[in-house]
């Protein structure tokens, strides 16, 4: 501020700056609050939110792809093979792989979604559910039953925006 600006002008300028700010706060004060009182009020996360991974056990063939691709090494899978009767009358018995163990350690998981993407049999899905915090880190290891329960919360995929390519049959 140069000397040519009189004290009075400077004061007027300061006052104007202050009042401008007060006007903003006053306007905001009159608007309804934007905060959500979380445990009492809930906001639905978007459909795509990566909250928790759900496992559809029937689809899993124990191919291990997800466990191998996981950057954090936090999927633990064990399985064995079983004979099942043939699907069609008179066919040969089938050999299927059955899961013994499917654990995801959410204490390590970084929610990248690689496992969901690489699964060739559509056995893993994202659910936007997020309220599964635990007081002990060990409880963040979800076994296959718990992962199966999340399946009920998986939303149907939403439609895409205008201009998106319509996916043909694969």
């Amino acid at each position: 501020m140069g000397n040519n600006v009189s004290k009075k002008d400077a004061f007027a300028k300061h006052l104007k700056g202050m009042l401008g700010g007060l006007r903003v706060t006053l306007r905001t004060m009159l608007k309804p609050a934007v905060t959500v009182q979380y445990p009492h009020e809930q906001e639905a996360p978007p459909t795509r939110a990566r909250g928790v991974i759900a496992l559809l056990e029937e689809n899993c063939t124990v191919c291990m792809l997800c466990a191998r691709q996981c950057p954090d090494w936090c999927i633990y899978i064990e399985g064995h093979k079983e004979k099942r009767p043939a699907r069609r009358e008179g066919g040969k018995d089938r050999t299927v792989s059955v899961l013994d163990r499917f654990d995801i350690d959410y204490a390590l998981c970084m929610y990248c979604g690689i496992c969901v993407e690489v699964c060739p049999f559509d056995a893993l899905h994202w659910s936007p559910e997020f309220e599964y915090s635990e007081s002990s880190i060990a409880h963040l290891l979800h076994d296959k039953d718990k992962l199966g329960e999340w399946e009920a919360t998986v939303p149907v995929a939403e439609p895409l925006e205008i201009g998106a390519e319509v996916k043909g049959k694969k």
Binding site: V62, R68, C70, W73, I75, G79, H80, E82, K83, S97
Partner: protein, 216 residues
């Protein structure tokens, strides 16, 4: 590598890079430049160890590169294969022989730096310098680009490369008691060694009798 002669490289270089290379060799002297190459549109020049500080001076002065982007180091040694018992790890398998990237290298360690000009759009130059394998060291750039300070400290602690003339070469990221140079290829990443890879678990035993065996 060494077969990549200047002529061959020059033939594949864009006119802008050829022009820049001409200016670099005029400012530095042709004998200081060991090799040059183009890496996806960018000029990479490998200079002699003794000319490293001269190169910085030329960059900041005659070439007008007033901006220091980064200084880093490369260890060209192939990383020893870990978790070899099963022959299968989740980390990518790199070629076993030691090869060098654009503009080549005389040995295992290299320091590379990127400078640019804030007044010329799309300008920039990558410089590389060879180091001695036993006691890798090169001149410091701090007196020319003050921003080199932290980058050189990082390179020193991560790769064990000395910088002659650096005012205080001390740890930047790691605690003072830390031993070893983590970015060297022979420094193991413990997180990948203390825990077996879950992808290695034998999932599928043979059907039939083996199933009962496995169930026990």
């Amino acid at each position: 590598m060494s077969e990549n002669t200047e002529v061959e490289v020059g033939a594949t270089m864009s006119p802008e890079n050829l022009e820049l290379l001409g200016r670099v060799s005029a400012a530095l002297g042709a004998e200081a430049i060991i090799e040059s190459a183009q890496a996806v549109g960018d000029l990479v020049v490998r200079v002699a160890n003794a000319s490293w500080r001269e190169a910085a001076k030329a960059c900041r002065g005659a070439l007008g590169f007033n901006y220091l982007s980064f200084i880093g180091g490369i260890d060209w040694m192939p990383a020893p294969v870990v978790g070899g018992e099963a022959g299968d790890t989740s980390s990518p398998v790199q070629p076993a022989e030691q090869t060098y990237g654009a503009a080549g290298s005389a040995g295992r360690f290299q320091v590379f730096a990127r400078v640019a000009s804030t007044s010329v759009p799309r300008s920039g130059l990558t410089l590389k310098v060879d180091l001695d394998e036993e006691s890798p060291a090169v001149d410091s750039w701090v007196s020319i680009y003050p921003g080199a300070d932290w980058h050189e400290r990082e390179t020193w602690e991560m790769l064990g490369i000395g910088f002659n003339g650096h005012p205080s070469l001390r740890h930047l990221y790691l605690p003072a008691e830390f031993e070893g140079n983590p970015l060297r290829k022979d420094f193991p990443l413990l997180a990948r060694e203390v825990k077996p890879w879950p992808g290695l678990v034998n999932v599928e035993p043979m059907p039939g009798e083996d199933v009962e065996e496995e169930a026990e």
